[in-house]
């Protein structure tokens, strides 16, 4: 399947888009998605454990991803 992933700030710059579709096997966990993103152009910017939000809440790398989830891979936050 293909997972649409939202990107922001430095990640949007690196991948050249604010949203990309990432091909993954099903079933898929967050870690699998990140592995698939690393080989894409721009994937070198991802740290060892990038921040990931699923449906606008933080999740860890073992969390499963289902079709229809809103997935965001998130650069180091710098609010305030």
């Amino acid at each position: 399947m293909s997972i649409p992933v939202l990107l922001f700030a430095s990640y949007a710059d690196a991948f050249g888009a604010r949203r990309i579709d990432v091909p993954v096997d099903s079933p898929c966990a967050v870690a699998d998605l990140i592995s698939a993103m690393r080989v894409l152009p721009g994937g070198h910017v991802l740290p060892k454990e990038p921040l990931v939000a699923l449906n606008q809440a933080w999740v860890t790398s073992s969390h499963p991803i289902s079709a229809g989830d809103e997935v965001a891979v998130i650069p180091p936050v710098a609010g305030g």
Partner: protein
């Protein structure tokens, strides 16, 4: 190009004017594009039972890590940032009974001196009000999906990565 996402209706609902001053206060949290109206934000926590209001205001300064800064672009994952701000405010309300909280974080391009974040906490007593603003700004910097790109005098612009400090 990474323009900031637009800000819409706040994710949390402000409290209705209640006749009972002791009623729990629904925290207010929003991502905004316009300059933050600090007196209006303060008014959201005012109540006849409040004796102390603590505010934290984060502003754009002209120097960071030794580099002269001329402005900052703030970008947010807007709907999640607003949700997360609201969660942080509600957590503070759970841990500090009686606290009244209002938060606005601005996005877009800010000049030096402009406020990017304002946190207001009201309480009957001083210590809980001050503890709330301190707690909220620290958690906010860890958890809210907002980024900033500094503009330098050289014309360069870089996204700030606090994990590299």
């Amino acid at each position: 190009m990474t323009a900031p996402m637009t800000a819409h209706t706040p994710a949390t609902v402000e409290t209705a004017g209640s006749p009972q001053p002791e009623a729990p206060h629904a925290p207010y949290a929003a991502i905004v594009e316009a300059p933050i109206d600090i007196p209006a934000l303060m008014a959201r926590v005012e109540s006849s039972g409040v004796g102390a209001i603590s505010l934290f205001v984060g502003t754009v300064r002209d120097l960071n890590d030794g580099q002269a800064v001329t402005g900052i672009d703030y970008e947010a994952y807007q709907p999640m940032a607003e949700l997360e701000l609201g969660r942080i405010a509600r957590e503070a309300a759970t841990e500090i009974p009686g606290i009244r909280v209002a938060i606005e974080h601005r996005v877009g391009t800010l000049r030096v001196g402009e406020a990017s974040i304002v946190i207001v906490a009201g309480h009957a007593r001083r210590a809980p009000a001050m503890a709330a603003t301190q707690r909220i700004i620290e958690v906010l910097k860890q958890r809210v999906p907002i980024w900033k790109r500094e503009h330098y005098v050289s014309g360069e612009r870089h996204w700030v990565d606090p994990t590299r400090c």
